[in-house]
């Protein structure tokens, strides 16, 4: 297993290189010139030329890529075209906020999703089941901006219980975490339910019952563990995507996270920041998926990853 982990960590290198090449390629493929975006609606040709020169944008693309990658290997991701700030520090400034936000939201969605899914499965085809699934689907179909703004309206403005913006204090964290956790919870609930339904009819569940095991324990220990594989997958996926893409929630709650940094950078064609954030997010993704694979093995020893 240690070998496996090490091997996986080594595999991240080609992943990162792949990501950076694709990002680089795409950034040049898509129209839009950072110099022009910085200048806005008006900028003389000469001025743009100067800026491109300064930014090294006139070098051949392979040269640019080489410059980037050789610096990156030394831990230098360059500096932002727009603000001139160091990319690493721009990312670190937001890194933990994003990780926290993703983590708390995932915890919330796992907690809610599992409970709802299990209850639904055990009450298959009852009103409780339908009710829970209806709520889950509402949660899923609700766009984040809508949910976020509604939460703000009621819980921040009308009741004054929580803050509408920012990150750090408990008051500020509640609403965004709920906003982000809801759709995840819905997916997890649905996944858990269907997966549980597969498992509940198995012989070993009958065996557990025959032992006199309490129904709760039958469900939560014997059935759930068997049902978790697809659930763990979606948890990993949603956690991963939260790390990379919480833009809307970040915007609604004025949270200074990596999602917005990345999107703003893409829109401003701020290559170094885009590269930096994408690399960090990919790294996180690979790690999360590594954890997911380890979780698979923990859940089912028959799954052989080596």
């Amino acid at each position: 297993m240690i070998k496996f982990i090490i091997r996986r960590l080594i595999q991240t290198i080609p992943v990162l290189i792949g990501v950076s090449i694709v990002v680089f390629g795409l950034m040049f493929l898509i129209p839009g010139d950072p110099a022009q975006i910085i200048a806005g609606e008006s900028a003389s040709q000469q001025q743009i030329e100067q800026m491109r020169e300064r930014l090294g944008l006139n070098d051949p693309i392979p040269v640019q890529y080489w410059n980037f990658i050789s610096n990156a290997v030394q831990g230098d991701l360059g500096s932002s075209i727009r603000s001139g700030r160091d990319v690493t520090s721009e990312i670190m400034l937001r890194f933990w906020t994003t990780v926290e936000l993703a983590l708390y939201s995932t915890i919330l969605s796992v907690f809610l999703g599992l409970i709802a899914g299990v209850i639904s499965a055990t009450r298959h085809n009852t009103y409780i089941d339908s009710g829970i699934m209806l709520v889950a689907l509402l949660g899923l179909s609700m766009p984040n901006f809508w949910l976020g703004l509604m939460l703000i309206k009621y819980f921040a403005v009308d009741f004054g219980m929580f803050s509408a913006s920012g990150w750090g204090e408990f008051r500020q964290m509640v609403l965004p975490v709920i906003t982000l956790g809801t759709s995840g919870a819905a997916v997890i609930a649905r996944m858990t339910r269907s997966s549980m339904l597969e498992v509940i009819g198995q012989d070993y569940i009958r065996t557990a019952r025959a032992k006199g095991v309490k129904e709760q324990i039958v469900i939560y220990r014997h059935a759930l563990k068997n049902a978790l594989i697809p659930v763990v997958t979606v948890v990993g996926l949603s956690f991963g995507s939260l790390l990379g893409g919480t833009v809307i929630t970040e915007q609604v709650f004025a949270i200074n996270g990596m999602g917005r940094l990345m999107i703003d950078a893409i829109l401003a064609r701020d290559f170094p920041i885009v590269q930096g954030t994408v690399l960090v997010v990919s790294l996180l993704f690979v790690l999360v998926n590594l954890l997911v694979d380890i979780a698979y093995r923990m859940l089912n020893k028959r799954i052989d990853l080596d």
Binding site: P31, A43, G84, R85, E90, A164, S165, N256, R260
Partner: protein, 509 residues
């Protein structure tokens, strides 16, 4: 509580507020750079305005007033020579003195190709800066350039401590980006000092106790980034912020309905327009352009899309801008005539065209409104939304048929308001995306910027506007009103037509 257009100005004269407190302003986006030479966006300007001062200041009506320069003259003999007398006894936040060397260092920096300032176009007619004495500085321009003082009033002309500039150059030697050092600790002469900046989140300023003029009343200002309009509003309601800059038109009614919130409406120097690509069919035919212009009911658009926040535009210049002509005759709203014109141009059955817009909801909405109105005269418009970067590039390449953009005459001078947009030398990226090429117009614009006679300039601009209305390279939609939401306890707030908040008189009750 509702506030009318001009009340904000009056509130300056309102009851004296108690000094102190920190004002929290929610902005829609973060400053890009606090190097005044290194950015070109409103949030940056708004913060920088409080830290740096320029040689010249504009007041509410965009009149030029002494700033760091106490007086200035354009040489009558040689209109390319300007002399500025500097204010004495001004120190930077780092304690260094403000003098002629500083001015030279600043302007040189803006024009330095290595720095590649996005503001350089404001000053690129300056060929030489001479330090006459400690407090006198001389500018030599390439050609006579009347609006120089107005350009120097622009925030891009904010004066940075010379030591800081040198430190920044030193850092550039080490491979850092220009402006990196300035950004980390901006030093100007303004009534607020930079305290800290948490990029993407907030910028804090504190009062400069050693200000040469009257000290600001607030202890400090915080500029926060809250990009979601609904959240800005919520923060305003809960008191987490004092000012929402801006609020969206559709929220005005709601803000006005809340007891302790107020709205100000400030007429702006900006223009929103639909440009035609005059090099492409069918818009190479002036009749078509006129027909389209006639088919549009601007009031409908202003009310429908902008919730009434703005006035219909006749030509490119807003009333507050120097050079605005009151005599210019607008193209009337006349659908029948529009159809005739189309028929004359050979399009009696109309035609199909595309209209580009970038991903701003307001522009998209305007596009929809225009689309509906043009359908009346048989023109089928397909709207295509483009992402900003692509939009800028593709419109400057002339790949479009029709497009929507805006223009803000930040210097308040007709030169800024028209030269880049319409001079044939400015095709593409510099601003002329309609690709209009009219020798007479070029001539007028050239003359107007060179003349040092105000009246002559006004006449020239009036002629230019007449041509522009007649030629209709673009459909001038409206001059926007800036909408600001604030809490009633904020007093003495001033917003300029260039979207700058002046905070020196502001108090919190």
């Amino acid at each position: 509580a509702g506030n009318d257009t001009n009340e904000s100005e009056d509130s300056t004269a309102g009851e004296e507020g108690t000094a102190g407190g920190t004002l929290i302003i929610n902005q829609s986006s973060d400053a890009v750079s606090l190097d005044p030479h290194g950015s070109n966006d409103t949030p940056s300007s708004n913060v920088a305005y409080n830290i740096y001062e320029a040689l010249v200041v504009q007041d509410q009506e965009l009149n030029l007033l002494p700033g760091l320069a106490t007086e200035w003259t354009q040489d009558e003999e040689d209109p390319t020579r300007w002399e500025f007398q500097l204010r004495e006894g001004v120190t930077f936040h780092d304690g260094s003195d403000f003098n002629a060397e500083v001015v030279k260092a600043n302007i040189d920096r803006i024009l330095d190709e290595d720095v590649a300032s996005p503001r350089s176009f404001l000053y690129d007619m300056i060929v030489e800066i001479n330090v006459i004495d400690d407090y006198t500085v001389e500018f030599i321009t390439e050609y006579p350039y009347a609006p120089l003082a107005a350009n120097l009033a622009h925030n891009g002309g904010g004066m940075i401590s010379k030591e800081l500039i040198e430190a920044d150059y030193a850092a550039m030697e080490e491979g850092r980006e220009p402006g990196a050092v300035i950004n980390e600790g901006p030093i100007g002469t303004g009534y607020f000092k930079f305290e800290n900046w948490n990029p993407g989140q907030e910028i804090n300023l504190t009062r400069n106790e050693d200000y040469w003029g009257e000290n600001a009343k607030l202890d400090g200002v915080t500029f926060r980034v809250v990009s979601e309009p609904g959240t800005r509003l919520a923060n305003l309601q809960t008191g987490d912020a004092h000012i929402s800059h801006p609020i969206i038109p559709s929220d005005v009614g709601q803000v006005e309905a809340i007891d302790n919130l107020e709205v100000t409406r400030t007429p702006s120097v900006s223009l929103s327009y639909f440009g035609f690509n005059v090099e492409k069919e069918p818009f190479n035919d002036v009749k078509v352009r006129q027909a389209v212009s006639m088919a549009i009911n601007k009031d409908d658009i202003i009310n429908g899309v902008y919730d009434g926040a703005g006035i219909p535009a006749i030509g490119p210049l807003a009333p507050a801008v120097f050079g605005y002509s009151e005599n210019a005759e607008p193209i009337p709203y006349d659908v029948d005539r529009a159809k005739e014109l189309l028929a004359e141009a050979g399009y009696e059955d109309g035609f199909t065209t595309t209209l580009w817009t970038n991903d701003s909801p307001e522009r998209t909405n305007a596009a929809v409104a225009v689309q509906a109105q043009l359908a009346e005269i048989g023109i089928t418009v397909n709207i295509e939304v483009l992402e900003w970067g692509a939009y800028l590039e593709q419109t400057s390449n002339g790949e479009h048929d029709m497009f929507i953009l805006g223009w803000s005459t930040v210097t308040g001078d007709g030169d800024y308001g028209m030269y880049a947009l319409f001079h044939s030398s400015q095709h593409g990226t510099p601003g002329n995306r309609t690709f209009i090429d009219n020798a007479e117009l070029d001539d007028l614009l050239d003359q107007a910027r060179r003349s040092s006679d105000e009246q002559e300039r006004l006449d020239l601009y009036e002629q230019a506007q007449e041509i522009l209305i007649e030629e209709a390279p673009m459909l001038y939609i409206h001059h926007q009103e800036f909408l600001l939401g604030y809490r009633s306890e904020v007093q003495g707030l001033v917003q300029t037509p260039t979207d700058i908040l002046k905070l020196n008189e502001v108090t919190i009750q």
